[in-house]
């Protein structure tokens, strides 16, 4: 497939496109980023609401609960990416649901890592 290009001073030139690539790998990394960010937000709010969860996330005493939150969120990101890539690499999923789901997960993650929000769950 060739893509025609034009510039103001030159005639259209053919741009050789790479072979068509399925949307599956893009969907995999988009959803993985969404899940990673969502999990980071969820753990942040849960850690604020429960001392037990906060202590459980303290995998390193110097870093505190942030150590568990970030290691788990990073593992979810890379793990989900690997799993979804294996499942979707040759498929052509509809892009709108993927983009909307990713956007929703990112917005929820942002909300749950916003201090005014998660501090509202702190025990009195």
């Amino acid at each position: 497939m060739n893509v025609e290009t034009t510039t103001p001073s030159a005639a259209p030139q053919p741009v050789p496109a790479e072979g068509a690539r399925p949307f599956g790998p893009a969907a995999a990394v988009l959803l993985a980023a969404g899940f990673g960010i969502f999990i980071l937000g969820l753990l942040t709010t849960l850690a604020e609401a429960s001392t037990g969860i906060k202590d459980g996330l303290q995998w390193n005493d110097r870093v505190g609960p942030l150590s568990g939150k970030t290691i788990i969120a990073t593992a979810v990101f890379f793990g989900t990416w690997a799993l979804l890539t294996a499942a979707l690499r040759r498929s052509e999923p509809p892009w709108k649901p993927v983009v909307y789901a990713t956007g929703g997960l990112v917005v929820l993650g942002l909300l749950m890592t916003f201090p005014t929000f998660f501090q509202a769950f702190a025990p009195d």
């Binding site: 496109a17 990394v29 870093v63 990101f77 501090q119």
Partner: protein, 188 residues
């Protein structure tokens, strides 16, 4: 003129890795925005694609390096518990020292109304910063994988642009609060 080990690491984390990421954004955004058939020739696309691939991959690596050094090297010094529960050791200080960590100094309000720098600023920064590398990695993967196809596929290009801007915005919030908190309570 000398820098302590802690100041050097703070410099590496914020001024070198973090700033490089934020500075590279403008170039990457311009490259991505103009990566379309009506604006570049075939030769231009080849040349620009190489730069774009190197640039977005470098930005993803920088983003991971920034959050890892921030969380695992600098942050433990910021949050040390050395002043005691009452924070009495912070009383009367103008800056954190070996008996009062930056977090304790801010929470003690000893030099003004500073506790919100920790309770809002640091609490937001330490979490939102970790979104930047995930979004930057997703943007980099799309550029590496789809390459020249991005020129013709406006939808994919827009997805990459949104990821790219999202990575920048989250890193910018973290960077801004990092700079302001360091000004109020430097790690030494």
């Amino acid at each position: 003129m000398e820098l302590t080990s802690r100041e050097t690491w703070t410099l590496i984390h914020g001024l070198i890795l973090g700033s490089l990421f934020l500075l590279a954004f403008a170039g990457g955004l311009a490259g991505l925005y103009s990566f379309r058939t009506e604006l570049v020739t075939a030769v231009g696309i080849r040349e620009r694609l190489f730069r774009l691939r190197v640039g977005v991959t470098g930005m993803a690596v920088l983003a991971w390096a920034t959050v890892i050094t921030g969380t695992w090297v600098v942050y433990p010094w910021y949050r040390e518990t050395i002043a005691g529960k009452s924070l009495a050791a912070c009383g009367g200080l103008q800056a954190p020292n070996s008996k009062c960590s930056p977090k304790e100094f801010l929470l003690s309000n000893t030099s003004g109304d500073t506790s919100d720098w920790h309770e809002f600023g640091m609490e937001w920064k330490e979490h939102i910063a970790w979104m930047a590398p995930m979004l930057a990695t997703a943007a980099a993967l799309l550029v590496l994988y789809y390459g020249r196809n991005l020129v013709a596929d406006r939808r994919l290009r827009m997805i990459v642009l949104v990821l790219f801007v999202g990575a920048f915005a989250t890193a910018a919030v973290a960077g801004l609060f990092g700079a302001l908190i360091t000004k109020a309570a430097p790690v030494r």
